[in-house]
């Protein structure tokens, strides 16, 4: 009896103790819930309402959607492949349809591992918890945040059906490469709607949210496939697919949407465009305003440019003996502008956007070298009355500089070749003659010409500016050269034609305005000289590569071969190509010979221009009415009836056609003495 009483007492003690424990736990639990509930975020009704926002869309010049930014549009569950839904449930939360927001056993297990196995952190978030986290919380990991996330998950479950939760989840989940929501991811990676996803594709996408960057199939296809196989195995284990389906799906190599990879090359362009839009309208409008932006980019030309740049830089690697495994490779940038309007057709700011987002096309300020000489020659023609037939002497030059050592410019070949007309001096890129000219015309005049052509970077008023020692960007140089392509007419370069709001109401339109900034006849004389650069001079590799249209341009190679440029144009398209190292290392080939713009940038330019203009009719530059041509002996600058040769014949005479204005005559007395 006593024993029974003892047992009863013992039992009663445990009963009370249990009740107290439960009551205490309940009180603590309630306190925590009440405490945390105060500043929990409000949930929208329905849940998907706040996910659905108008997207800002950016279009290419042909109307193709380049990218969508900001928030996204939801699609209903019945517009998503069942394979994807199964895959995401199997991978992320296979008990999704059974729990009420929390998988308690998994949570306890994860808690145990996190607390007692040092160095290991186990996650146990259900789909509902992930949704709560993605919608309302930052990614900062704290216990308080985790508890709040858990409470919100419970409320989501209490207020929504499983279908509504799943619908919200798959429409907001991030898959990488700018794709948020399954529909966008499906179109981004496979170029099809989410409804048309097949099992291997669906499984690949379902594997991405775990680590969108590490499994990005464009960059790490092997990793993405390994991850996909894990998803498939999980689907088989859970029973969504049979072993046969699992084995068959594993053998399929998913074909990624290649056009999208081409438009990814527009990323540098998009970065520049979005920066401009933010400057004009602010971040809220750009990322959340649902605006439509009609950009100037030509996706076909952009694709050609990407291929030409990649090919050219790979050749440069080979030339320099740089292997794939080397950590540092030369970089490049290419910008192409429609001369007739200023519309930027192509803008690529580097070798690979995903390896370096630094936009060298607009943010890399580099010396243009001889690429600056057209501004010098225009200034001399305009201010000193010089012209392409003016004779000057290639000789050692020492120019005194106030408060600094004398300037002794050297020619590229370190040799001096005596008298020559200026047309030859430009195509041979003779530095000593450029130095003599800048001494006479003054650096301010040269800079002024560059300024009115649209160069906006700071330019130093020093003699060496004639040889391109002031930094500019490829974008600026391409833009400034279009003024020559238009024989003196400036069109401001621009990246977008029109901006509309979500309802199609126009909020901005670009108007193409012409501004005459250079004398057309003088501009033509400079263009004619630049044509000879391609025909006979440092850019002649362009002709060898098969580009035979009328075109003009100028190479640029800076001291110690740190930058190699070619900027050139036809009457319709102006393109600038820059190559070099970010850290200003020397470009030298395997034989330790420096690499010039003619060797590295000009082939890229030619390859691109051949493709870009293949369907356009061939056009030459219009000759102003007041221009006539005469043939000149390049040494004497005197008129000759010999055929144009552009190289010295057996009698050591070279003949070039020279464009002259009415008041200009070859072999004038003043010319013999120098103007």
């Amino acid at each position: 009896m006593n024993c029974l009483l003892k047992v009863l007492k013992f039992f009663r003690f445990f009963l009370f103790f249990g009740l107290i424990l439960v009551s205490l736990a309940g009180l603590v639990g309630m306190f925590l819930v009440f405490y945390a509930a105060k500043d929990l975020p409000q949930l929208p009704t329905p849940l998907s309402r706040i996910i659905e926002r108008p997207q800002t869309q950016i279009y290419a010049s042909n109307g193709q959607v380049l990218t969508t930014i900001g928030t996204r549009k939801t699609i209903p569950l019945n517009m998503v492949s069942q394979d994807f839904i199964n895959a995401i449930i199997a991978t992320e939360d296979h008990r999704f349809f059974e729990h009420h927001g929390i998988n308690k056993l998994r949570t306890l297990k994860a808690l145990y591992i996190t607390l007692f196995q040092s160095g290991r952190v186990q996650g146990a978030s259900t789909i509902t918890q992930q949704l709560a986290k993605n919608l309302f919380f930052s990614f900062k990991q704290t216990y308080k945040r985790k508890f709040k996330e858990l409470l919100v998950a419970l409320q989501i479950e209490a207020s929504n059906t499983k279908e509504e939760i799943l619908h919200a989840y798959i429409n907001q989940i991030y898959f990488g490469a700018g794709a948020q929501g399954i529909e966008k991811a499906s179109r981004q990676f496979f170029g099809k709607s989410a409804l048309k996803l097949k099992l291997p594709e669906a499984a690949l996408l379902a594997g991405l949210p775990k680590s969108p960057t590490n499994y990005n199939p464009y960059r790490h296809l092997d990793r993405a496939i390994k991850r996909r196989d894990i998803v498939l195995r999980r689907m088989a284990q859970v029973g969504f697919i049979s072993d046969l389906e699992y084995q068959q799906a594993r053998l399929v190599k998913p074909e990624l949407y290649r056009e999208k990879t081409d438009s990814r090359t527009g990323s540098y362009f998009l970065d520049a465009l979005i920066s401009q839009l933010i400057e004009k309208y602010g971040e809220d409008v750009v990322f959340h305003g649902g605006i439509k932006v009609f950009s100037t980019i030509d996706t076909k030309l952009q694709s050609y440019a990407r291929k030409s740049l990649t090919k050219g830089l790979e050749k440069l690697d080979t030339m320099m003996g740089i292997r794939n495994e080397n950590s540092e490779h030369p970089q490049g940038a290419i910008v192409a502008i429609d001369a007739g309007s200023g519309a930027v057709k192509v803008l690529i700011g580097g070798r690979d956007y995903y390896k370096s987002e630094f936009n060298r096309a607009i943010n890399s300020f580099r010396q243009p070298g001889s690429g600056f000489k057209p501004f010098l020659y225009y200034s001399a023609f305009k201010n000193l009355g010089y012209y392409p037939g003016t004779v000057m002497t290639d000789q050692p030059v020492i120019i005194p500089v106030k408060g600094a050592p004398d300037w002794e410019p050297q020619n590229f070949g370190k040799a001096f070749t005596g008298n020559m007309i200026l047309k030859k001096a430009l195509y041979k890129s003779v530095n000593t003659i450029a130095a003599q000219i800048v001494e006479k015309v003054g650096p301010a005049a040269v800079n002024n010409t560059a300024r009115i052509c649209g160069i906006k970077s700071p330019l130093k008023d020093v003699y060496s500016v004639a040889l391109g020692t002031s930094d500019v960007t490829p974008f600026e140089l391409a833009s400034a050269y279009t003024v020559f392509a238009n024989l003196g007419v400036l069109h401001e370069p621009f990246l977008f034609w029109r901006v509309e709001d979500a309802f199609g109401r126009i909020i901005f339109e670009h108007i193409v305005q012409e501004k005459r900034v250079l004398d057309p006849a003088i501009a033509y004389q400079v263009v004619d000289m630049m044509k000879s650069v391609i025909q006979h001079g440092s850019g002649r590799s362009i002709r060898k590569l098969g580009f035979n249209r009328p075109a003009a341009g100028k190479t640029g190679t800076t001291d110690h071969y740190k930058d190699a440029w070619f900027t050139g144009f036809t009457p319709t398209l102006c393109t600038s190509v820059w190559t070099g190292f970010d850290r200003k290392k020397t470009l030298v080939d395997v034989n330790s010979v420096g690499i010039t713009g003619g060797r590295s940038a000009a082939p890229i330019w030619a390859d691109f221009m051949i493709q870009a203009l293949k369907s356009d009719p061939e056009r030459d530059f219009p000759i102003p009415d007041n221009i006539r041509f005469e043939k000149a002996d390049t040494r004497t600058g005197c008129i000759t009836d010999r055929e144009e040769t552009a190289f010295e014949d057996s009698e050591n005479i070279e003949v070039l056609q020279v464009p002259l204005k009415p008041e200009q005559h070859l072999c004038m007395k003043e010319e013999q003495d120098g103007p």
Binding site: F14, L15, G18, L19, L21, V22, A25, G29, V33, A37, D39, L40, P41, Q42, L43, P44, I50, R53, P54, T71, H99, H100, G101, I102, K104, L105, N134, L135, F136, F137, S138, L151, V152, L154, Q155, I156, E157, A158, S159, Y281, G282, E283, D284, V285, F287, H288, G289, G290, I291, S341, W497, D501, R505, I507, E509, H510, I511, V512, Q513, E514
Partner: protein, 264 residues
């Protein structure tokens, strides 16, 4: 055992989760709209407000420009930084209201004929600049075919010059029988509903720019392009001149009804 029972029952029936979830759902509307997604929503609201402001401003300007009856109105309606499109017919109407010699100063008639009837003109685009407007004649590719810069002062001079003549009403037959003293005229004017007044005296700047005092006002006997000419006789140091402005036909007729009861 009770604790165990509670725990097991919770694991089995998830009653605690449901309870907490339902409680939180009941307090939902009293909680703040905070968190990543709500922030995004606020950004969207800001963006839409900003865009609507731009659009509304533009639509207001467009509406005013649509009503402009002179280039001076046009300049006054478009502030620096604003831009609107102008219908070709509207430009033509404004141009034709100017005296020929004055219109030539803006654009040669032959060039206007080419622009409006012979070129690839698609639209006329007006942009406000400090002290005036720029008018761009643009083709379907948004290229400027012709650009005219209008300075307010220049237009004011043109419109004033064409509208001022030295002399008296007795010398102008078209005003015969419709000449009123300034007192009677303005008495009648202020009896009109206020919203009519801007259409009656469309270009007050022209009158305000004159020296002297208004002594008589005459109403022209013919309407032209929906307007009727009003003559204001100014007297300054014994010299008289008549300044013409235009009033919308319907507004002038309304005024005439009031004036008919007064002396003339």
């Amino acid at each position: 055992m009770i604790t165990a029972t509670f725990l097991v029952s919770e694991l089995r029936f998830d009653w605690f989760e449901n309870l907490v979830g339902s409680y939180l759902a009941s307090t939902n509307e009293f909680r703040p709209q905070t968190g990543v997604i709500w922030e995004a929503g606020k950004h969207t609201t800001n963006a839409h407000e900003y865009l609507n402001k731009i659009i509304n401003k533009k639509e207001d300007t467009q509406h005013n420009v649509h009503k402009a009856s002179s280039f001076l109105n046009l300049i006054s309606d478009i502030l620096p930084g604003e831009w609107v499109t102008l219908e070709k017919n509207h430009f033509q109407t404004l141009y034709l209201t100017l005296e020929k010699s004055m219109a030539d100063k803006i654009i040669e008639p032959a060039q206007l004929v080419w622009l409006l009837k012979g070129s690839m003109l698609d639209r006329i685009f007006c942009e406000g600049i400090p002290g005036g407007i720029k008018i761009y004649f643009i083709d379907s590719e948004n290229r400027v075919i012709k650009q005219i810069d209008f300075e307010k002062q220049f237009i004011l001079e043109i419109e004033s010059a064409q509208q001022a003549v030295t002399g008296e009403f007795s010398e102008i037959e078209e005003f015969s029988g419709r000449i009123y003293t300034a007192e009677n005229f303005f008495d009648a004017v202020f009896k009109l509903p206020p919203d009519i007044l801007p259409d009656l005296i469309v270009n007050p700047e022209i009158l305000l720019a004159q020296a002297g005092k208004i002594i008589n006002i005459g109403i022209w006997n013919v309407s032209q392009n929906g307007y009727i000419k009003l003559g204001f006789e100014f007297e300054e140091q014994g010299a008289k001149k008549i300044v013409f402005i235009k009033g919308r036909e319907w507004a002038v007729w309304q005024l005439s009804l009031y004036l008919q009861g007064g002396e003339n």
